[in-house]
């Protein structure tokens, strides 16, 4: 701590004067929700000039802890001290005034406003907007972070990485005390992650206390000064600064995995999923490629709304039993690709062939009948109707069709019976088939969607399945379930398009990986040794194959 402490007191910032003393102390923080103990007596210290990594799978209690620090929730027990002073964080505003800034996983900026306008939004409504002062503060923080963003650019024109940097500026706006980053790397390119790392290190050296939440072990090792592991709401252990320095990446990985899952057998696969070491799929033999392609796209383009990236001139062949991974930073046309295959979005140009038949003019139900299925990433946004029951959602794409409907009359007994069978078969954890689906967890909603899209008994055989970010926002167990399902589907002969922003996932499951960049398929590489590097280059537009 010693050398850095000197830096801190020299730094021209609102950082605590305390020499080496802890900035924020959490003591025995406990938070209960109905049926869940989200935080169980958690005690943590956040020190100035230190990047404190919080690790834990979804549901471990990280989000609740952030919510408490950001003033959005009140702990049921325990206390928060700032420089030894006990404080109560009653609202997000109070949290900001204490110098706590939070950057959430998703960008929360107004896309049509400029950078500076976004930053000035936090002021009270009766105050005059002081542009000059805001600009001064922006320059100050830009220098601190080493940014090169014009304050007058509309946020919508910035890359996701830059938008996140603006979020960091906003988080530090009221004073550089504690910066909380909630899974900040999940949306970034490798280059973006590297830049974020640089920013974090600069801030740390200026004496900011940083809480860095991630589930990627490599990043934890690369950036962290101290690790703490949460599991089922409890702090199960950590690695402090001195020990961390002395350990190799392998040792850290082993230790964290041991902490997260204990030493019990049977958690091995969780550990593999987490560390990105999941067993690779047995690749299909090249011989099968000689058959007729199941799905072919020929120069398919779409038209995008304002702010959307359309698909441009996409062509590929997909064979039965093959998994084509689609890599790329979110928002590079992946959604349009998925939708144009499913029939949800018209193709402006180009042809789509399914087993030798042209299908680009067919509707969603017609293509579904022919075997094209789409598991959307927006499970609540478009995949389901949250207020409708599980049963309604299971049959959502069958409305009006026999055997569940006869002459347009709903046979509710059959609908509920079918739903019960699907719930049983796909192990959906729900109180009843009549429970509104919005009350289920993400993993269970995903199971309902899988049941709906992969079911064969009602509409005929599935042939082409598009998965759009199938494990996004799921906990480890559900992630593994979804990946197993994709693997088994491919082994059974499904032609699969797998869109994902998780490179590990693509490397684990795909035969070939295409990279989307600005609406184009920048290249398709075979998933073999060295694919990572090629994909990384393609993702940033640095190379074309």
């Amino acid at each position: 701590m010693n050398t850095q402490v000197q830096n801190i007191s020299a730094a021209p910032s609102a950082v605590p004067e305390g020499r080496g003393e802890t900035f924020v102390e959490l003591r025995g923080i406990t938070k209960r929700f109905p049926g869940v103990l989200a935080n169980d007596s958690i005690s943590l210290d956040f020190n100035p000039g230190e990047i404190h990594v919080l690790l834990g799978e979804n549901g471990a209690g990280k989000s609740t802890l952030i919510g408490i620090l950001a003033g959005m929730q009140q702990p049921d027990a325990g206390e928060i001290r700032i420089r030894g002073q006990r404080v109560r964080i009653g609202s997000p505003r109070q949290s900001l005034e204490l110098g706590f800034g939070t950057v959430f996983q998703h960008v929360l900026l107004v896309q049509s406003l400029t950078v500076l306008e976004n930053l000035m939004l936090g002021g009270s409504w009766w105050q005059r907007i002081d542009r000059a002062a805001a600009l001064r503060r922006f320059r100050e923080l830009s220098d601190l972070l080493g940014l090169n963003i014009s304050p007058d650019t509309p946020v919508g024109r910035l890359s996701l990485g830059q938008q996140q940097q603006v979020e960091i500026v906003r988080a530090l706006w009221r004073g550089e005390g504690l910066l909380i980053l909630d899974e900040p790397t999940s949306m970034l390119t490798p280059e973006g992650v590297r830049e974020l790392g640089q920013v974090m290190v600069r801030l740390r050296d200026e004496g900011v206390a940083i809480v860095f939440i991630t589930h990627k072990l490599q990043e934890a090792y690369a950036f962290g000064d101290r690790l703490s592991v949460l599991r089922l709401g409890r702090l199960v252990g950590g690695i402090d600064k001195d020990r961390l320095k002395a350990m190799s990446e392998k040792e850290v990985t082993d230790e964290v995995i041991r902490l997260m899952f204990g030493n019990t057998e049977g958690h091995d696969r969780d550990a593999e999923t987490l560390a990105g070491l999941g067993q690779r799929r047995v690749k299909q033999r090249a011989a099968r490629r000689s058959t007729v392609p199941c799905l072919s796209l020929r120069g398919v383009s779409t038209e995008g709304d304002i702010g959307e990236c359309p698909l441009r001139d996409a062509s590929f062949d997909l064979y039965p039993g093959e998994v084509l991974g689609i890599a790329g930073v979110d928002g590079n046309g992946q959604k349009h690709l998925a939708e144009v295959i499913a029939g949800q979005r018209p193709a402006a140009r180009g042809e789509i062939w399914l087993e030798g038949e042209r299908v680009e003019a067919l509707s969603v139900p017609a293509r579904r009948k022919l075997g094209i299925r789409y598991i959307t990433d927006e499970r609540m946004g478009e995949g389901t109707v949250g207020t409708f029951s599980v049963a309604h959602n299971v049959v959502m794409k069958e409305i009006g069709l026999p055997p569940l409907w006869r002459h347009g009359i709903t046979l509710w007994d059959r609908v509920f019976g079918h739903a019960r069978a699907q719930i049983q078969e796909h192990d959906v954890r729900t109180p009843s088939e009549r429970t509104p689906i919005g009350r289920l967890s993400g993993g269970n909603i995903q199971k309902v969607l899988l049941a709906r899209e992969l079911a064969d008994e009602l509409v005929g055989e599935a042939k082409v399945v598009t998965f759009n970010k199938p494990t996004y926002g799921l906990d480890l167990q559900s992630t593994r379930m979804a990946r197993d399902r994709i693997r088994r589907g491919a082994e059974a002969g499904l032609a699969t398009v797998l869109i994902s922003t998780e490179l590990d996932e693509l490397l684990e499951l795909s035969d070939r990986i295409a990279v989307m960049f600005q609406g184009r398929l920048a290249g398709i590489v075979d998933n073999a040794e060295g694919a990572e590097r090629e994909i990384g280059l393609l993702m940033t537009g640095a190379a074309s194959v």
């Binding site: 509707s363 789409y374 309604h392 409305i399 009006g400 347009g408 709903t410 429970t435």
Partner: protein
């Protein structure tokens, strides 16, 4: 009207939920009557006397009850149409224009056809023509919504103003009966109107309305079409994802909703008035919209609110003559009801959020 029983949670909590739903409706009603009483007191009127009179005249006296039941028919038909629209997420606020245009068409057709065609066929043609005209009047807002995504709240309201004016003009210019001093259409003789029930002044329109409401209920809960409409209403993006033809469903919704408003106008003319005066505009649509909201788009609850409101209307009209309380005081009660309903809803949401957090 909802798929309520299918959608709501497990059976153990269903009973409690239902009880809470009743409480959520009753509390605003009691509060509205109470504050309404305070307003009456401030005018020096005896609220108990007023409420008592309203109930006696609107519900307990034979002639009052007959008038109330007669009034229910158009209100219920309009409510049935609105339930379909609102459940599909389409805010058809142009009911009054649709209602009046259908009324004009009915009032013009019925006396003219009656001499030529048999009674039954005349009635049928009037119903069909009125429904069709109202549905056509909603075509433009539907087209603008489907094609350009223009908000139907604005367009249906504008079309409503146009429809009201146009029906006025039609009565004065096209269908004016020269035999009368005030501009109005030719009058359908009493014996040619909708048959009366038993020995009362109640016409059979109320039967039509109840049957239509039941059919709408069955359509929404038992058919694929109804379920599709509800998907569009609950999550339009899910409808696109599922591959529903949202455009066609939107047209159908507009047509059904406006058509039933038209049928209401037709029933009112054929059952009650037999003629249409140029300045006649009961503005039932704007009165029924809040009721359907209060009933949460539910058929049985809408029926209850319509009956309640019809009693208030008929009783209030009598009371205005007898007690000197203006008849639009009924509107004050309805708006109080809406305010308290919103308030209870808000408090309920907050309470739920807190109990969850």
């Amino acid at each position: 009207m909802s798929t309520g029983s299918e959608v709501t949670g497990s059976s153990s909590t269903a009973g409690r939920d239902r009880l809470l739903a009743v409480v959520r409706v009753l509390v605003p009603v009691v509060l509205a009557l109470f504050v309404g009483a305070l307003i009456l007191l401030s005018f020096g009127k005896d609220p108990l006397a007023y409420y008592g009179y309203v109930v006696r005249r609107g519900l307990l006296s034979p002639s009052g009850l007959e008038a109330t039941v007669t009034r229910i028919a158009p209100l219920l038909l309009i409510a049935a149409g609105l339930i379909v629209a609102f459940r599909a997420g389409i805010w058809n606020l142009g009911v009054d224009g649709q209602f009046l245009l259908a009324s004009v068409v009915t009032a013009a057709l019925a006396p003219a056809l009656m001499g030529v065609l048999p009674w039954g066929l005349t009635m049928l043609i009037c119903f069909v023509a009125a429904t069709a005209v109202a549905a056509v009047w909603s075509l433009l807002p539907a087209f603008l919504k489907v094609r350009y995504g223009i908000n139907e709240i604005i367009t249906t309201l504008m079309m409503s103003f146009l429809g009201i004016s146009l029906s006025n003009v039609l009565v004065k210019i096209a269908f004016n009966d020269p035999a009368t001093t005030v501009p109005q259409t030719a009058t359908l003789p009493v014996e040619d109107r909708l048959p009366r029930l038993f020995d009362t002044t109640i016409n059979s329109g109320v039967i039509i309305a109840l049957v239509v409401l039941l059919l709408v209920h069955l359509m929404m809960t038992r058919t694929a079409f109804g379920l599709k409409l509800q998907v569009v209403g609950a999550n339009p993006r899910a409808a696109v994802h599922t591959g529903l033809s949202v455009g066609k469903l939107t047209y159908a919704t507009f047509a059904i909703s406006a058509g039933l408003a038209g049928l209401a106008g037709s029933v009112e003319i054929l059952g009650v008035w037999g003629t249409m005066r140029a300045d006649w505009n009961p503005a039932y649509g704007l009165l029924v919209i809040p009721l359907v909201f209060l009933a949460r788009f539910h058929g049985a609850a809408s029926l209850a609110f319509v009956v309640f409101f019809a009693v208030l209307m008929i009783g209030g009209e009598s009371a205005s003559r007898r007690l000197g309380v203006p008849h639009f005081y009924v509107l004050v009660l309805v708006s109080l009801l809406l305010i308290f309903f919103a308030l209870v809803e808000y408090l309920d949401q907050r309470w739920r959020k807190r109990s969850r957090a």
